[in-house]
Each structure stands twice: as C-alpha cells, then as structure tokens.
C-alpha cells in the first residue's frame, strides 16, 4: 500500500513548453532547427535569386574541359591540354608534397630547438628562446615573403654560372643553387634497377623483423641484442651487394647549364623551397614549445626513480621520460601538422602550384566558376583535416592513461 501518490498528471498546457524541463529541451531544439532552416532557406533563396539575376548556373562540367595553362612543378603527367580535374590533382599532390616535407623538417627544427631550450648552456638557451619568440610572433605570411625574397633576390641567377669566369660555381660540381631553385643530381634507372630497389624494400622489412625479434628476445629471456649496427647492416649491405651484382644499373644524372636553365637531375623549384622552409621554420617554433612543455611535464621523480633503478641516462630518456613526454607532445604536434597543411595554401604568394593555386587560383580565374571551385577547395581541405583528426582521436584513445 503506497502512502505516496503520484503527483496528479497535469494535462498538457502550452506554457509547459517553456516552464517544464521535459518539454523545454524539445522547444529549444525546435526553435534551433527552425532558425537553421530559415537561415539556410534565406541564404539559398538569395543565392538562387542572385544567380538567376546574373544568368549563371552551378555546374561542374568545367572540370572535364582542357585547363589550357601550364604548371611548372608536377609530379604526375600534365600538359596544358589536360583537364581542369587533372590540374586539381597536380595541385593536391603538390599540397601533400610540401606539407609532408614541411612536417618532417618542422619536427626536426622543433625538437632540436625544444631540447636546446632546456639545455644548461645559457647562450644556446637564450638563442633558442629568441628563435621561438621571433618566429612565433611574426605572421607566417611575412616569413614566406621574406624567404622567397631571399631565394629570388639573393641567390644567383643561372646566367651567373655561365662564361669562362662565372660569378657562381656549382657546389661539388653537381649541386646548383640558383634563384629559380636548387638542382641536384637525379637517379637514372637502368635495366635491373627494379631488382636493386626490391632488395632495398626487402631490407627495410628485414630491419623491422630483426628489431621485433630482438625486443621479443629481450622480454622473453632478458638477453640484449645490439640494435644499431645490425640494423644499418641489414638495411644497406644487401642493397649495395645487389647494386654491384647487377652491374651498377642506377646512375646519376648531373644537372648542367644548357640554354636558359640547368637541365637534367632533379629540380626543386624556388617556390617549393621557400614555402617548405618558411613553413617548417615557422611551425618549428611552435613545435619547440610543445616539446619543451612535454619534457617539462614529466615529473622529475620519474627520471630519479629510473636512475634509482640503475638505468643509464640514455635509457632513462628512451624508456621512461620520452614515452611519457610523447603523450603530451603528440596531440599538439598533430594539430601543428594540420596547421602546416592549411598554411600551405599560402603557396599562392610564391607561385607554387598547390591546390589553392591551381583549382582555387588559375582554374577559378580562367573559368570564372568561383562558387564551384571554392566549394571543391574547401571540401579537399575538410577531408584532409577530418582524416588527420580521426588519426589523432585514435591515437589519443590508444595512449589514454588507462585508470584501473
């Protein structure tokens, strides 16, 4: 027998939409949805009206038409007769190329500067602090312009290499630093070079297998195998031997001054170098701060405890401090990588043919399809960003402190 009776079931009154928590959330959501729909409808109808007034329509057919323009640095086949879509692919690959290169070098700069900021050498510490503050507090756009100007104004033009007594000479006879880019010897693939490359790939797999085996042996039996020298040997020896067995199929193609420019070898264009270097040195300053914060976040007790267990300083760093510091360092590191990718869109300043310059630049200008191009452009960056954040989330979940 219940002494309490349920509160009398109040019949629904309109005022309950606001005052009753059960209904209020629904009210708010309906309002939010209505506002959203109104906003979209409003913008959409404006767009439709404007397009109608201008006699335009949205169409992606231009992607299939020949682009008509040339691109200076392409990793995939492209001529001016290729389609706009192909030009966009060239741009995408160039974006990924410069982002990848900049991520690698920015990490190197950042780690060096971050570790040196904690050095006990006063001068080095202050220099690194100076580097971090100067680069963090000046816009990346200015850095790109400055470095590009250095590249074009301070480096010698190819014509300086000409003549009997040239003003500039090639470094080691095979590297040319000009204001149009850096020319380095490139490989020439002869017959049989595929076998050499296959050997190399197999060696890389072999190194991983060896390291895995060594770790397993260490955990199982406590025996410590040497790591560094065997790895290097496995990596290089078979390839070198195979290289000679096959009769040196891979040669080098040296750049040489022919006509207006250096020909042969690999050309790394000045825009790519400027963008690459500017992005990495700018983002390196941010990464340096992350690295410093990460190392400082590991409490001193950890390294002291490790030392008390008798670990050598190198092992303390490798086995105790770094794994814990990485947990702090990696999430901001990845968002810095994301920033590099997004900032690479500033390529347009130096004439590097990334996606913003091809699809969002020349194609947009030549076809006048502003809306379509910008939408596709945003879609591309969105896919990249969401992909990277997904990786980040997976990593975060994997390394989350498992509290038991």
């Amino acid at each position: 027998m219940t002494t309490f009776s349920d509160p009398p079931k109040a019949s629904f009154r309109p005022s309950m939409l606001l005052s009753d928590t059960r209904y209020r959330s629904i009210t708010f959501q309906v309002i939010a949805l209505a506002l959203l729909v109104t906003a979209i409808w409003y913008l959409g109808s404006n767009l439709a009206a404007n397009l109608r007034a201008a006699g335009l329509n949205i169409s992606f057919q231009f992607l299939g038409n020949p682009a008509g323009y040339d691109i200076n640095q392409t990793l995939i086949p492209y001529t001016s007769q290729s389609s706009n879509l192909q030009a966009a692919w060239v741009g995408i690959i160039n974006t990924l190329l410069v982002s990848f290169l900049a991520c690698v070098t920015a990490t190197i700069f950042g780690v060096i500067a971050g570790v040196l900021r904690l050095s006990n050498n006063w001068l080095v510490r202050k220099l690194m602090a100076g580097y971090v503050e100067i680069f963090r507090n000046i816009p990346v756009l200015i850095w790109i312009l400055i470095i590009y100007t250095i590249m074009t104004a301070a480096m010698p033009a190819p014509s300086a290499f000409r003549g009997d007594d040239p003003a500039s000479t090639m470094m080691l006879g095979s590297f040319a630093f000009t204001n149009r880019g850096v020319y380095i010897p490139g490989p020439v693939w002869g017959p049989g070079s595929m076998i050499v490359m296959a050997t190399f790939v197999a060696s890389v797999i072999g190194v991983f297998a060896y390291r895995r085996y060594a770790t397993k042996l260490l955990y199982d039996t406590g025996r410590l195998l040497p790591m560094l020298w065997p790895s290097v040997a496995i990596l290089l020896l078979p390839t070198i031997i195979m290289f000679f067995i096959m009769g040196m199929p891979i040669g080098l193609d040296y750049p040489a001054l022919k006509g207006f420019n250096f020909r042969g070898g690999i050309q790394i264009g000045a825009p790519l170098i400027a963008l690459w270097f500017a992005l990495s040195i700018y983002t390196g300053a941010f990464i340096a701060e992350n690295v410093r914060a990460g190392i400082q976040a590991v409490s001193r007790g950890q390294s002291e405890a490790a030392a008390a267990l008798g670990l050598r300083p190198g092992r303390v760093m490798n086995l105790v401090v770094l794994p814990q510091a990485l947990r702090v360092i990696i999430p901001p590191l990845i968002s810095n990588y994301l920033n590099i990718t997004k900032n690479s869109s500033l390529a347009i300043l130096v004439g590097y043919a990334d996606i913003t310059a091809t699809l969002g630049g020349i194609t947009l200008n030549q076809t006048g399809r502003a809306i379509e191009c910008v939408v596709l452009l945003m879609l591309f960056y969105l896919v990249i960003s969401l992909g990277i954040s997904m990786v980040m989330n997976v990593y975060n979940n994997a390394t989350k402190l498992k509290e038991r």
């Binding site: 959501q29 939010a32 913008l43 404007n50 400055i146 104004a153 910008v374 969105l382 960003s385």
Partner: protein
C-alpha cells in the same frame, strides 16, 4: 660570573665574520661562464657555434642597420648616397610611413581619428585587462565600440547613437526579465534592441545632417596596419560571445543544437582561413539579397569572426571539460537552472582556465589578418606588395619594409603574450 672568565679568555668574537668571496674557480663571473657556457666539451663546442652564428648575424646586419639612409626620396637616390657601401634605405619608411600605417586612401588630414581611436582603445581595454582598476571605467569600455566606429568611419553621428541606444534598451529589458527566466530575458533584450535599431534607422535617415561633423570615410579607404588592428580587434571581440555560445552548444545534451555546433566548428576548423577569405571575396556576395551591397570589409569581418569563433569555442570547450564534475553537480544541487549555473558557476571558472588558449588564438588571428592582402585589401602587407613596391621610386626595397612590418607585429604579439602570462600568474588562485 662573567668577570671571572674575562681574564681566562683573551678574545671572544662577538659577531661572525663576513663571508669571504669564494675563490674565482667556484664563484663570480668566471664560474658563471664556466658553468653556463663551457661545462662540458660538447657544450663548449655548442657555445662556440652559437657565438659564431651570433657574430655572423651581427656582422651582417649591424653595418646595414647603422648605415641606414633616412632622407632620400627614391631608391636610386638612396644608392647614390650610400655609394656602394652596405646600408639600409629607411627613407622608404620615413616617406611612406603614413601609407604603411593608414593605407593610401585614408584622407591625410584625418589621421588623428584612427590615432585617437587607438589611444582610447588603451583606455577602454585597461579595465578589462587589469582587474584592479575601478569598475566604473567599464562604462567607457561599453561606449568605446560606438565611439571608435564613429571616429574611424565618420558620417552622421546618429548611426552609432542609435546602435548604442539599441544595446542599452536591450540591456534594460534583459535586466528586468533576467530574474524570471534567462531565455526570456535574452529574447526580450534582442527584440528590444532590434526594434530600436529598426526605428532608429528611419529616424537617423530623417535627421541626416547636410554635412556631418566627421567626414564619412568608406571602409574601402581603410588600409595599412590600421586595417590589421581593426580586423584583429573587431573579430576577436565579436567572436568571444559566439565562441562561448558554440562551446556551450557543443557541450549541451540537446542533439540538434549539439549537431549544429559540431558541424559548424569542425567545418570552419577544417579549412584554411584563405579559403574562407575567398568565400568572402568571391562567394559571399551571392548570399546577400540582391543589391544590398555589403562591402568587402564587412564580408571579411564576418568570415574571420566565424573562423576565430570556432577556434575560441574549442578552447572554451577545453576549459569546460577541465572543470571537475563536482562543480556541475554543486550547481545542480543548489537548485540553479542551466542558465544560472553556467553564468554564475561554470563559465567564470572555465573562462579563467581558457585565458591562455584564448590569447593564443587572438595572437594567431591577429597575425592571420595579413592574409587579407591576398584578396586585394590593402593592409600593411598589401600596401608593401602593391602600391609601394610597384612605385617607380621604391621598386626593390624589400628588407626595410618587411622588417618594419615584422617589427610592428612582433611588438603587438609579444606584448599580448607577455600580458597573458602575467594574467595567468595573477589569476592562479589554486593553492599549490
């Protein structure tokens, strides 16, 4: 008693000796140098390398800096004066400083207006930045946006006045109703403000004076570093409230509201600012009603505000998530409703945690305002790359101009980050 011993002990030291200076090996500057610069072989090499690097840097830049020419009227004249010696041509700065700071179209007899607005900005920002100042000064902070708008753009004073009246009316309605229900108060406030603005628009049109007190200046004429400052300040201050709303929306339990916020935030954070500026430049005009003619400056402000509010929202969300769950539960147990709990308990604490993050975003955003030069707005970089470097007189002067721009940005950004570190220490109320 003491007398008896007086004879037996010949000398008693009554005060301790002053400590002697340690020998040079373990103290003093020499020791400092040894400890800090040459503790080990590797370190010594590092020091030498650093010293050599510093030498190169100074040897390269000092003669150039000190030998600068300040009074030439063109680059060729500058080179004549230098006569082959290494030296900077700072004359471009002394001749074009007004273009670098204000753009090339802002009327030169009106430069006092943005300058005054900048000075007043410090006055207005002071009570926000330094919590020890009297709270009465916040009144001026509230007035400042309208004053600054009028100072910079000029035109009839009725615009800013009615805008201000609208805000005041909205606030009055809000404060009347807020005791009853926050949502109703907010809605009432907005409605009141919009009514005043709408009516004010007509009255202002009717009262339009023949010649306004301050000459009206179209926003197309704004430029130089002033444009960067204006974009930075406007967009950060506009994006704060939007960012808070987005962060709360993303944390909320209402799926639709949460969905909208998540999509917005992730979308904006996923694309580079430059594509958003392209949108402002080439697309946004299509989304406004035909003939409304919203000018480029406002379109850019809209996009940058969207951009920074998404980032600020994420920072604040971090602050909200960092609060212990007990705070939320405590607020609930006191019987506070959602709006009260947020306003009185959660947000003040979350905002405090978020300050360093917000300042970082603000600094980043301020630096990113240089991107507007890509879409043919003449900010300081736009001025350098456009009219100044294109002119016959100064074609080829890069370092001086870029250095000047870098210096301006460095001063502002470094100043802000130093302030934020100070504030962090000041607000650190947790006891460690």
């Amino acid at each position: 008693m003491s007398d008896t011993h007086a004879e037996s002990i010949a000398f008693v030291r009554e005060s301790s000796l002053p400590p002697a200076a340690p020998p040079d090996k373990v103290g003093g500057p020499l020791k400092w140098v040894k400890d800090n610069l040459f503790p080990t072989w590797a370190n010594a090499i590092l020091t030498l390398v650093a010293l050599y690097f510093l030498y190169l840097l100074l040897a390269g830049s000092l003669p150039w800096l000190l030998n600068g020419v300040w009074s030439a009227s063109s680059l060729s004249e500058c080179r004549e004066i230098l006569d082959g010696a290494s030296g900077a041509c700072f004359s471009v700065l002394s001749e074009r400083w007004h273009q670098l700071l204000f753009g090339f179209k802002y009327p030169s007899d009106q430069y006092w207006r943005p300058t005054l607005a900048l000075v007043l900005l410090f006055l207005a920002a002071a009570p926000v930045l330094f919590i020890d100042l009297p709270r009465k000064m916040l009144l001026f902070t509230g007035l400042y946006p309208f004053l600054a708008f009028w100072l910079i753009w000029g035109g009839p004073i009725w615009g800013p006045i009615f805008a201000l009246l609208g805000v005041v009316a909205g606030y009055i309605v809000y404060s009347r109703l807020v005791q009853k229900s926050f949502a109703m108060a907010l809605a009432g406030g907005i409605v009141a403000a919009v009514i005043v603005w709408y009516v004010g628009g007509f009255i202002g049109e009717a009262l339009r004076p023949a010649s306004p007190l301050l000459e009206a200046i179209p926003s197309r004429d704004l430029g130089g570093f002033m444009l960067n400052m204006m974009l930075g300040i406007t967009c950060v201050s506009l994006s704060l409230p939007i960012g808070i709303a987005l962060a709360l929306g993303r944390q909320s339990h209402l799926p639709i509201v949460k969905g909208i916020c998540v999509v917005f935030i992730e979308f904006v954070r996923g694309v580079p600012l430059i594509t958003l500026l392209f949108v402002a430049n080439v697309m946004l005009a299509y989304f406004f009603p035909p003939g409304s003619g919203v000018d480029l400056f406002i379109r850019v402000v809209i996009m940058i505000t969207m951009f920074s509010s998404a980032y600020i929202a994420e920072v604040i969300r971090g602050g909200l998530a960092a609060l212990p769950k007990g705070q939320y539960e405590a607020a609930d147990s006191l019987g506070l409703d959602y709006a009260q709990a947020m306003r009185l308990i959660i947000l003040p604490q979350a905002m405090k945690i978020s300050i360093p993050g917000i300042v970082n975003i603000a600094v980043g955003l301020f630096k990113d305002t240089t991107l507007v030069s890509v879409i043919s707005l003449f900010d300081i970089i736009g001025m350098i790359r456009g009219p100044i470097l294109a002119s016959t007189d100064w074609n080829g002067v890069y370092w001086e101009l870029f250095m000047f721009a870098s210096l301006l940005f460095f001063i502002v950004c470094y100043g802000i980050s130093q302030y934020s570190q100070w504030l962090e220490r000041r607000l650190a109320t947790d006891h460690r």
